[in-house]
Symmetry: C2
Subunit: 118 residues, 2 copies
């Protein structure tokens, strides 16, 4: 079991390549054999297998041999991990903006009531 930070390293690293993202996009629509995955990629099978190995090491994809066919599918755990990390940052950033907005509103209200008083 990878620790949280190492798991994020591998997931983001795996997603930083357009071929591997295309493979995940295909697998999000359903399981596929390696040949199915390779078919739209204009790439040799060994090259596809290398990308698959990176995706498997990151936990984004898992594969199993059924008979003679290696079938791949998305493993949603690592995808959720990466999504949650980004989401947490964005939420934090937005909450900060909200607080800043509230604070500016308070200043405006104060300014207006001071104006009335003078």
């Amino acid at each position: 079991m990878l620790n949280y930070s190492a798991a994020l390293d591998l997931a983001f690293q795996a997603l930083a390549d357009p071929t591997r993202r295309a493979m995940v996009e295909r697998l999000a629509r359903g399981p596929a054999s390696v040949s199915d995955l390779a078919q739209p990629l204009a790439m040799s099978l060994p090259a596809v297998m290398q990308h698959l190995a990176v995706l498997e090491a990151s936990g984004l994809v898992r594969s199993q041999k059924i008979g003679r066919v290696l079938t791949c599918e998305v493993d949603p755990g690592a995808l959720s991990l990466a999504e949650r990390w980004i989401n947490d940052r964005r939420s934090e950033w937005e909450r900060r903006l909200d607080r800043l907005g509230d604070y500016l509103e308070t200043l405006k209200t104060k300014g207006a009531s001071n104006g009335q008083e003078s």
Copy 2:
């Protein structure tokens, strides 16, 4: 302006490093100077500047010099882009599972009504 795929490459690549994620985590709580960013990292200022350059190139962070201080802040656009890509994949995967669940339910119902008929 980067194209969509190149922008995702850079964003995920930038997030694939624990130091850069720590910098984004810090900046999600509010803008900071480079010295503030460097302070908890036990790293030389030039090393921090290099990580900052990667974050800036990816569009995740922007910085501006105010007087003599280089102040950095999160740029939410690239973060949203990366989040949306992952979210789209997860949604697609979940919709597929839902459809599969519905289909299995139909089979069960059919099986039950066939059972009653026989």
